[in-house]
């Protein structure tokens, strides 16, 4: 009797373990190590431009008391929040159209079209945006042709948003669409049967039901934008010092990897807290 129990329990444990373990084990093997090194690195010393293992809190004191660090922190957060909001707002009608207004074939093709840009190097796409936004670029010339005199749009917040939406929009649309496509259609029919107008159906039925998708999409957009280096460099013209740029700059001051690690750890903490908050909000029972 007892052996029977243990065999059944064992096989169930094995089944559960088979699913539960691979990713944690992999991360324990190849991610925990680097993370611990990163944390340790933030306490190292730089002597004669050489990284020296040490345990000193000076890097933390120096970065956390620097005004430019907090200015960059605030700026990065604002930029990332705006980008996440913008990408989510643009994605919403798109995901609705994909999920409810397109036929099966068109839906597959359009979703495919949103996936493809992922594969064309983000670096290349941002580089290509420059030609639209720059002095004498496509936008400026087009506007001039219809008599509007605009300056260069490069190095403006507008350019930043263009770049970040380019980065995040496909992902947000795909996530929102996955969420909407798996929505129980009878829910919507039921709402109509109760006499709700399209607007009520959208706001009272569809949006609450796909909240996890919307929140998760926005979260990814926030994470990507928060850590982005490419757009800030190529479209922001280095004028908007984000935390990623600050990291690159800090490293330039003679191998200051430890201080860069401090910035990185603060970023990680921020993103982790946002992610946990967003996820618990997304899956909270309505």
């Amino acid at each position: 009797m007892t052996t029977l129990i243990s065999i059944r329990r064992l096989s169930r444990l094995a089944y559960g373990g088979l699913w539960s373990l691979p990713l944690p084990l992999w991360l324990a093997g190849f991610f925990l190590g680097p993370m611990i090194l990163l944390i340790w690195l933030s306490f190292w010393d730089v002597r004669n431009f050489l990284l020296t293992p040490d345990f000193q809190i000076e890097n933390w004191q120096k970065m956390l008391s620097a005004d430019y660090f907090w200015a960059a922190y605030l700026r990065t957060t604002l930029i990332a929040l705006s980008a996440a909001a913008l990408a989510s707002l643009i994605a919403l009608p798109c995901a609705l159209a994909i999920s409810f207004f397109l036929g099966l074939k068109a839906r597959m093709v359009v979703l495919g079209l949103f996936v493809v840009p992922f594969f064309t190097s983000y670096l290349v796409r941002i580089y290509s945006w420059q030609i639209y936004l720059t002095e004498n670029g496509i936008i400026m010339k087009t506007l001039a042709a219809i008599g509007i005199d605009s300056g260069s749009l490069l190095n403006t917040p507008f350019a930043l948003m263009i770049g970040l939406v380019t980065l995040t929009l496909p992902l947000v649309i795909v996530i929102q669409s996955i969420s909407m496509l798996s929505l129980d259609k009878t829910l919507i029919d039921a709402a109509y049967n109760l006499g709700c107008g399209p607007r009520r159906v959208l706001f009272a039925t569809v949006l609450p039901a796909v909240r996890p998708g919307i929140v998760l999409g926005a979260l990814f957009a926030f994470i990507f934008s928060f850590g982005d280096f490419v757009t800030a460099t190529y479209l922001g013209g280095g004028k908007f010092t984000t935390l990623s740029i600050l990291i690159a700059d800090t490293v330039k001051s003679g191998q200051q990897w430890p201080r860069a690690a401090v910035v990185a750890l603060v970023m990680i903490a921020t993103l982790l807290i946002s992610a946990l908050g967003a996820i618990s909000y997304a899956y909270r029972r309505a």
Binding site: F49, T134, T233, Y234, G238, F240, L246, S253
Partner: protein, 370 residues
């Protein structure tokens, strides 16, 4: 501790050998062609730079390109010795390479120093305790790069023009503090731009900050090229022919002028990586770069043109590429590059002497977001 490291290295080596034996195609290749690795700025191992040498010595040079000395040093620190046979670096970083024991000592007898102008026989950054660690390959000057449609050579003969109201929002910066603060320090009248006292340092900060309203943006290499080309910016302090030379090849009406107050010099060099198993071949490569042939090639690299230290190389440039030579300051007579150095107008780019490098960097970060 040392012992375990050694064992691990031995293990690593044997692992490399096993991997090599397993991968059949690479054996076939290895029999015919030797492979040599180079850690370098982009372009130094492109076909136009190394094809001649590769053919001559039946070798294939595999590059690892980096985009900043800090990345290069961090990469070296975490890679097993012997990973890179050749290391190409700017002079500021050679000192750090030496101190970190990442490069091998060189024998000056092996290289064509006799062909070089005397200024480069004992280039300060490349020697440490009277031992040679790097051989200069080429160099360039940093002053004011400008679009000739908007700024004339005469106008660019003083850094003061940067503050001119008509260039408002047309001034760009290459996003690195050393060259920018260097030229602005010259504008402040410091005779040694990187060796300045506290007063001069705070004056330099004020000078720099006062330029901010004129500034359009801070660019990396690619950004510098495209912004100058498109007309986004018309004038940039702290860069040189290494940018404008490339743009001119593409038909842009730009040049670099070294203002009266002086200019900054950058220097590229090659070293042999610590623990290189192909040190002989690496030595041959550096020999080649210092030879007249190699020097001529280096002056005209696709990635960007630069001045060479070899007199013999100069001769070839003047006779074969007179136009490019002229822009680089390679010509006979007054005002050529060597002449500028001898007149004391040119100062070698180096790390700040009296301040901490971090202070310069912090100020630059603050300036960017000011």
């Amino acid at each position: 501790m040392v012992k375990t490291i050694l064992t691990r290295r031995a293990l690593l080596k044997s692992g490399v050998i096993t991997a090599g034996t397993l991968a059949m195609p690479s054996i076939v290749r290895a029999q015919s062609v030797t492979e040599m690795t180079m850690l370098a700025w982009y372009g130094q191992a492109e076909p136009d730079a190394v094809a001649q040498f590769e053919e001559l010595h039946n070798v294939k040079i595999t590059p690892k390109y980096y985009v900043g000395g800090e990345q290069m040093l961090a990469l070296l620190a975490q890679s097993p010795p012997g990973t890179y046979d050749l290391i190409h670096a700017d002079a500021e970083y050679v000192q750090q390479l030496v101190r970190a024991n990442f490069v091998e000592k060189l024998d000056p007898e092996d290289y064509h120093f006799d062909d070089f102008y005397p200024e480069f026989h004992k280039f300060p950054g490349h020697w440490h305790n009277d031992e040679l660690y790097a051989v200069i390959s080429r160099f360039g000057f940093l002053g004011i790069s400008h679009n000739l449609d908007a700024v004339s050579v005469k106008e660019a003969s003083s850094y003061d023009m940067l503050w001119d109201g008509k260039h408002k929002d047309k001034v760009g910066h290459f996003d690195w503090h050393l060259p920018n603060l260097g030229v602005l320090s010259l504008r402040d009248g410091n005779s040694d731009p990187y060796d300045i006292g506290g007063d001069a340092w705070s004056k330099l900060q004020d000078t720099t900050l006062s330029l901010k309203p004129q500034v359009r943006g801070f660019y990396d290499y690619g950004g510098v090229l495209s912004s100058l080309k498109s007309g986004e910016v018309t004038v940039m302090p702290g860069i040189g022919e290494w940018i404008t030379g490339v743009l001119r090849r593409d038909g842009a009406n730009v040049t670099t002028t070294i203002p009266e107050q002086g200019g900054i010099q950058f220097t590229e060099s090659f070293s042999i990586g610590r623990g290189s198993r192909k040190a002989d071949l690496a030595r041959k490569f550096i020999q080649h770069t210092s030879s007249p042939d190699g020097q001529f090639t280096l002056a005209n690299l696709n990635v960007f043109p630069a001045i060479i230290p070899s007199k013999v190389g100069w001769e070839r440039m003047i006779s074969e590429r007179p136009d490019d030579a002229r822009h680089l300051g390679i010509f006979k007579g007054d005002g050529n590059s060597i002449d500028l150095i001898r007149k004391g107008r040119i100062h070698i780019r180096q790390l700040p002497v009296q301040q901490d490098l971090a202070d310069w960097n912090d100020f630059w970060s603050a300036y960017k977001s000011a």
